[in-house]
């Protein structure tokens, strides 16, 4: 279980998160929603250790993450797909993928994971030896998600994975997440502005506004709450 309690983060004078509390059950898919600048990206970066917290704590699986270095957190099974993908364009597609699982000891399984990713995203296999810089925007997004899956994470943090993806692919990724959750018990925190598509696969949703949690509920309830949708989700 992911527990976040009273989390505050600031960039200099700009307060990006202000006493945020979130709980995510194991094997759950939780959507974090909110308008531009609500603090969604900041939340994920803080969980994965890239952004130091001013206050509050984060624990995953009972283990304290607060204050740990990002690489330690990653080696604890937390994978983060950053906003925009974070593909390393200087490396080849294959190297990007390999990098995702490098810290895992099980070599055989690393190879198997790579095969699975290629199966999920065939365009990547075609270009496996090409530098990632030649990929189109959407292909990079696939690579980033594939790379995160390479480590067979127990907690997956996705920052706007649908950004720049064709509807078909977005739908496919959502499907994959659902399947993975079912087959491996993966826990997902999904940040999206596209609330509709996120809530369509999530169990629960949190809505952030100006760095605070303004609503928490099941996905179905959130989808049904017209007032909330208009106020914070813009649709």
């Amino acid at each position: 279980m992911l527990e976040i309690d009273g989390l505050s983060v600031a960039y200099g004078a700009v307060r990006a998160l202000d006493g945020v509390g979130i709980e995510v059950d194991r094997g759950g898919i939780t959507a974090v929603l909110g308008a531009n600048g609500a603090g969604k990206t900041t939340l994920l970066r803080t969980i994965s250790g890239l952004q130091p917290a001013r206050r509050g704590r984060i624990a995953w699986d009972g283990k304290e993450l607060t204050g740990l270095a990002p690489d330690r957190i990653a080696r604890g099974g937390v994978a983060h797909v950053p906003e925009g993908g974070g593909v390393i364009t200087e490396l080849t597609v294959d190297e990007n993928l390999r990098l995702g699982a490098l810290w895992r000891r099980d070599r055989a399984d690393r190879a198997a994971a790579r095969e699975e990713v290629y199966e999920l995203f065939p365009p990547l296999e075609e270009r496996s030896a090409k530098p990632a810089s030649t990929l189109s925007g959407g292909e990079r997004q696939m690579l980033a998600i594939g790379r995160a899956l390479m480590s067979r994470p127990s907690l997956l943090l996705l920052d706007e994975p649908s950004l720049g993806l064709a509807p078909l692919i977005t739908a496919r990724i959502m499907g994959i997440l659902r399947d993975l959750r079912a087959s491996t018990g993966l826990t997902v925190v999904l940040v999206e502005q596209n609330a509709h598509s996120a809530l369509s696969i999530a169990d629960r949703g949190y809505v952030l506004a100006l760095g605070r949690v303004v609503a928490v509920d099941t996905a179905a309830e959130l989808l049904a709450d017209d007032g909330l949708r208009h106020a914070y989700l813009g649709f």
Binding site: N36, G37, P167, Q193
Partner: protein, 262 residues
Amino acid sequence: MTLPGEDLLVVDGLTVRFGGLTALHDVRLSVDAGTVVGVIGPNGAGKTTLFNVICGFVRPQSGRVVWRGEPLVRHRPEHLAGLGIVRTLQGLGLFAGLTVLENVMAGAGRHARTGVLPALVGAGRSARDESDLAARARATLGELGIADLADRLPGVLPYGVRKRVALARALVAEPDLLLLDEPASGLFAELVELSTLILSLRRHMAVVLVEHHMDLVMQVCDRVVVLNFGEVIAAGTPAEIQADPRVAEAYLGDPAEEAPDA
């Protein structure tokens, strides 16, 4: 001024290969003044490459780009603004070290009247030029509702606002053709405003829009062209496209899954 109904931009028989990979194959497309043309297609279909050819970043193996009846030969990106074509980037491409105002002023260079030499010595009209550009930039920022951010650096602004700055930088040049590469990505709450904006632009300029947000595409486009593996597989009104089974198969997926909702 090009009259409505006249082809402003024609792209003809365009083929682009990167090594063994054909990114565009014999693509034809035309844009009338005052229309919004949507270009959609799966990831890697060649949409950005198409923009890159129009802008002169990529030289096609064959085919040509005709602007106002004149083929563009060996044109370079920096000439475009002068010709009246402005493009936004799929990323943001803001100048991190320039304030929002300066970012927008940088886009307004086509309105400057003085050449390099007077600007060098700061003589003549160049001072007045600068205040003209600043005024234009402020006005455009005002129209996009971000005039109060003029003196901020873009880096500290939320993504959505930065997108608007990028848009302001494009609009301040008052182009005849605006190429928008995924303007809605990263925006959601502002989608409605964006579509209103694009529709309003139609009065002054033609727009080519690459976008994955089908709602937006369907709302604002007069015509839609669908690319797949570098080829045009369909073209027509939004309604025709939405009904086209090839488009559904290649791009949209199961319509039940992505029910439009606005």
